[in-house]
Symmetry: none
């Protein structure tokens, strides 16, 4: 056997081992998602996760440093997915209108949440207040969305597309309206599938024109 062949054999072995390891990690992560989602962080014991994953106690700690660590990883994964669905606002002439971009963002958030229902449920249920690191991550995520929204709003205002407003407060309102809809659909209604498009349109309509009857001459 040539050295090259040997190397690649070794590589193959390593690769296969790594794949095995990744599969195992994924297995445990899935089990953790289910368990955390069903029982909440504090009521979930490591024993529950390993039972759901069908692994031994010690094995858990070969893949994750602690119960807190696996939760943190799940949280990061979800937030990353959310963030990746939020594109920066493009105000170049060739770009789609700002409100179209906002619509896309809302839709992305809804879709991400819907396809990560269990995970989202955990975060909404009780990620806040767990520990300082978790709190920080959520705060950062919130801040990031908030800043993005506020910037978008300010751009819209200065371009005359949006009415004058306290962009800090309104950005918070927008975030909250979306967040609450997610919460109600995922946590409260037991994760039943919902009409993403309809919901997104309602949210957008609500955000753009508010509640009142169109004022012809306002």
């Amino acid at each position: 056997m040539s050295q090259t062949a040997m190397e690649s054999a070794v590589d193959g072995r390593i690769t296969r081992a790594q794949a095995r390891r990744e599969n195992r990690r994924a297995l445990i992560l899935r089990a953790a998602v289910e368990t955390f989602s069903a029982r909440g962080y504090h009521r979930t014991r490591v024993a529950d996760i390993i039972k759901a994953a069908g692994i031994a106690r010690g094995t858990f700690y070969l893949y994750f440093e602690s119960k807190n660590a696996i939760f943190l990883e799940l949280l990061e994964t979800l937030l990353d997915e959310f963030v990746s669905g939020v594109d920066g606002v493009d105000i170049s002439p060739s770009a789609s209108p700002v409100y179209e971009q906002l619509l896309d963002t809302v839709r992305n958030l809804l879709i991400t949440a819907a396809s990560n229902a269990a995970l989202t449920r955990i975060v909404f249920r009780e990620a806040v207040g767990l520990d300082d690191e978790v709190d920080q991550k959520l705060s950062d995520f919130d801040d990031r969305l908030h800043e993005y929204l506020q910037q978008s709003l300010e751009n819209g205002c200065s371009m005359g597309l949006l009415r004058p407003m306290d962009t800090g407060i309104i950005a918070t309102c927008i975030l909250g309206s979306v967040r609450q809809v997610l919460y109600r659909n995922l946590v409260r209604q037991g994760g039943l599938p919902f009409d993403v498009d309809h919901v997104a349109r309602e949210i957008l309509e609500y955000n753009c024109v508010g509640l009142m009857q169109a004022r012809s001459l306002a």
Copy 2:
């Protein structure tokens, strides 16, 4: 000493004892609010509360059945205050306009939250997922507000004051927008005082007319 005098003396003693007891309860409740607010429910040990209250271990259990019970009582107190600020919608001709009533409700929620900052912080931070009873109470509260809002919206629609909409979703949006503002002001910004009136107006404006510049020809 006449019998009447004796009786009132006894009454006095009873009243004083009751007052003492109430004071004591209040003392412990205050200590609990501080501790829960600062450290969160799970990281708060009974030891922390009694240290903050300056009482002995056993004394705590003289006034509250358990750590969970005192939390539940705090939660109820807060939710009751919130609920009491939400009046039913009055659509009689002599009543103020529906949007005025909504404005009052928003203001009331903001004020209640601001004057119970620590308590509100606890509820927002981690009341959800604590235990089934707490979850139920919070859900009920949410549902109550949601129903009230949805009913108001439907009234507004049928009276032609509001545009047609999916009142279920929009009620959720409204709730979320207010909730998020509270969260940001109380939890994130460390409870710094904020301009309730300004915030309420912004929220209302946001809810009523949305984000967009007035559409002259819609």
Copy 3:
């Protein structure tokens, strides 16, 4: 008022105060008997006793040093009554036959037990193993009865009235047979009244016929 009169007045006051005190003690003792009897020593809390007696917590400790002390006093009372029912064996010609004396003793034990049902129940249920002092008192009582019986048996043997036997073991048997009957009647059967005479005769028949020299002509 003469000095003598005053003194006797004072005496009267003292006497009346003492009477009051004794009544109070008796009240608490009765309450303790009921509670201990119903729930057992360990499951009885001081709170139960004072509730049954209708007195305040602190009052209890004005009359008894501790929960253990009141139990000890009850125990002593009962054992004293039992002991007083056991007369020394009289073998003088003018005395009634030994087996008559034994019969009386058994009857006395039964009667004492029946008229102190609750108290006896406590002692049978769990006086043993409570603490060293209680154990000692019970052991002493047991020893005393045992010795008395053994002596009686030896007398009977040496007088040719009883068959030869290991008086130590047999004394124990006799004690046990009586004890078990009490236990069954008082503890197990809920303290329903029982026919003392019938039971005593059966016990005696059981014991005596077994112990006596063969009855050639019965």
Copy 4:
């Protein structure tokens, strides 16, 4: 390694693990017997048992649900041993005489007690009054023995072997006589070994001679 070899290796591992577990359980049970026997149930803390067993706190709960559970198991073990020594009465012509069967039963009880001295001591000292489940178990045991004895007595009476009697009371007497002898030998005399055969014969002599039909020429 052949599949069969592998399987047996696995079996071996499982068996060894089970054996280890059983040993461990037995170790803790022994420690518990010692501690309960020496200090009594209530004065025994779980800390005492684990110190005696040389294990950690948590380990205890790996093998037993609670302090109460381990006591219950000890109790059951002992009562089972006692019960297994009590054979049903056989009145067929080929069977040994009824009184021989009773003799065996007494002997068995004595032997079981003697070889489980510490355990028996606990049960005698304070099993009664511990909790409802324990009480029930002891009552059931008592009832079982009592019924067995009463049935035996009735058989003996109807066969003309025994004199007429109140079999309920007399069964109680017999039980008590044996019980008291056990108590005296195991609890009071510190568990010093005793001459089982001699004691059994004395008990039997005491019981049988008393129960039998009058012996005309004995």
